[in-house]
Symmetry: C2
Subunit: 334 residues, 2 copies
């Protein structure tokens, strides 16, 4: 098992990315291939260059966080993200993880590996930590304008991924909507509802925004516009709340005492809501494995993403997804 | 100034709604007309029936929270929400507030009062409390499928409302999107971006989900599907966080101490994030005044919504909105 790590992608790349990859090698025994500028990376890898689980694959270029993905990929043929997916295509690596430009990661993945047969559009599956374990929100931003059949496929792919990589057991799937009744919502969601309902998938109907984080439904489907707004809003709400809470506590002596005493609980709490646990969002629907990490990923998050990628490969998730898609596409006449 | 209160609408109607209306009469000196079943309401109003600021307008029927709005309105001609808007139409009342079925409130408002000339679609403007004061999120759920020109009008209406009723001074307007660049987003938002950009409105471009609650931008525009999901998600995130935080604190002795000591700060904090402060979401674009309250509104929220409705009427906000729309529609050739 070898995981290609885009060492040049991310707000704190390459330092933090390299550190996370090295941790994954030590902790999980996974072979990591650091893709990036060799001279630069060697400095960060240090003595670990002699570690048989760590190798460096040199490339000249990198896509910046704010570059236009397609233009950048066309221009920079030797960029770390293109080269990383190239290694998967050649069979040298089993998966790619990147904390870089997510549009470029998506595009490079499709370009190098193509789509699983029958998939209209690959999507980003974000893994949201909740009180009752992980919830998959799909699509988290790859497709801003969708058709109903695409939402249906997102559900099928997330179901296969959840069973194969997150220990889910035939999880329920719901559409993110503005009301629970099947007649609610915009045109896209109403048509998608019909597709899900007439399928043999474990469809639970619609859920509203407030139910996303309860964790009762494990797979939540929406278009990439809604999903991206929703995820960033969740992050923003949590941050605003934490800021406000601290400010309120600091205003009084008793509050400051409370903050000191509760520090451990507060930090356990922050950890529970942290995306670090899963490390990244798998790109479902490409004919191979790509994991998109948060631009500001910590080393721990990178390490966990490497581990998730390895599990993804080990469990033959892509093959399972492909089989699931074939049978549900047949069922729906898609 | 007389405000018609739909006394039969809301999870805890009529009791809590009547209580809130009576509080508004005492606290703000506003005349409230309680619309609902007289015998029932008289019981809750008690001695205050002799208060010159409190009157009861009898009607036989009420629309239930889960009824189909249009069917219910057609069938129930003597329902409290229809009768309440009828009072505005006849010039007996200046505005309506309702914590009942929000679809029915919207439909009854349009039916009785029509739209402001030039408005394609009325929208719900939710007032979101943030660290830096109120933010208007429009549309919060009235229109699940929108055209770009409609989003533009939502911005114009919210701008007029914010200046007239929330003491905003030429507030900046932004589109809720998945990235800041003008090229980002789905088709709807990209076209709306162009309309805003070529207008003379104070347009700040796009903001992402995480920036909604910072309060830096005072008016945030999106379609009603995205807006509704966003609002409910914000509520859900805040509730999940509060639950998790309490659970974490209760797990240890020091945590329990912290919780006891910080109780006051925690409740100040909850108050700050509470929707009660503004009480309701104005329905912008109908040719008159309607305020939609949360189904589970407290008496305090109802009282504040009555006060907002009175200000709305006093400040001639509808006339200002109508003038604003005329000039911006001309500018855009809409």
């Amino acid at each position: 098992m070898k995981i290609a790590v885009d060492a040049m992608g991310g707000d704190d790349a390459p330092e933090v990315v390299v550190q996370g990859a090295l941790e994954a090698a030590s902790k999980f025994g996974i072979h990591v291939i650091l893709v990036g500028h060799e001279a630069l990376l060697t400095g960060f890898v240090g003595a670990r260059t002699r570690d048989s689980l760590v190798s460096i694959h040199h490339c000249e270029d990198a896509v910046a966080m704010d570059e236009s993905p397609l233009k950048a990929l066309r221009k920079k043929k030797d960029s770390s993200i293109r080269v990383a997916f190239g290694l998967v295509k050649e069979g040298v690596a089993d998966a790619v993880i990147s904390a870089g430009n997510s549009g470029a990661t998506l595009a490079a993945g499709v370009l190098a590996l193509g789509r699983i047969p029958g998939v209209e559009r690959p999507a980003i599956a974000s893994i949201v930590p909740t009180e009752k374990g992980p919830v998959i929100l799909i699509d988290a931003g790859a497709n801003v304008d969708c058709r109903p059949g695409q939402l249906f496929q997102f559900g099928v792919m997330a179901h296969a991924f959840g069973c194969s990589c997150l220990d889910m057991d035939d999880p329920e799937i719901a559409l993110l909507n503005i009301g629970e009744e099947g007649s609610k919502g915009n045109e896209l969601v109403r048509y998608a509802y019909d597709l899900f309902e007439k399928s043999t998938l474990n469809f639970a109907g619609n859920i509203e925004g407030r139910d996303l984080l309860t964790g009762d439904i494990k797979i939540v489907v929406c278009d990439g516009f809604v999903g991206n707004v929703a995820l960033k809003l969740t992050e923003g709400t949590a941050e605003s709340m934490a800021r406000l809470m601290k400010r309120e506590l600091m205003r009084s002596f008793l509050g400051r005492m409370a903050f000191m005493l509760g520090r451990k609980a507060f930090s356990r709490f922050a950890r529970e809501l942290s995306y670090e646990e899963y490390g990244g969002a798998p790109l479902l629907g490409i004919n191979g494995i790509g994991i998109i990490c948060h631009g500001g990923s910590s080393a721990k998050a990178i390490g966990n993403a490497v581990n998730m990628a390895a599990q993804y490969a080990q469990n033959q998730t892509v093959i399972k997804m492909s089989q699931g898609l074939k049978s549900y596409n047949l069922e729906q006449g898609l």
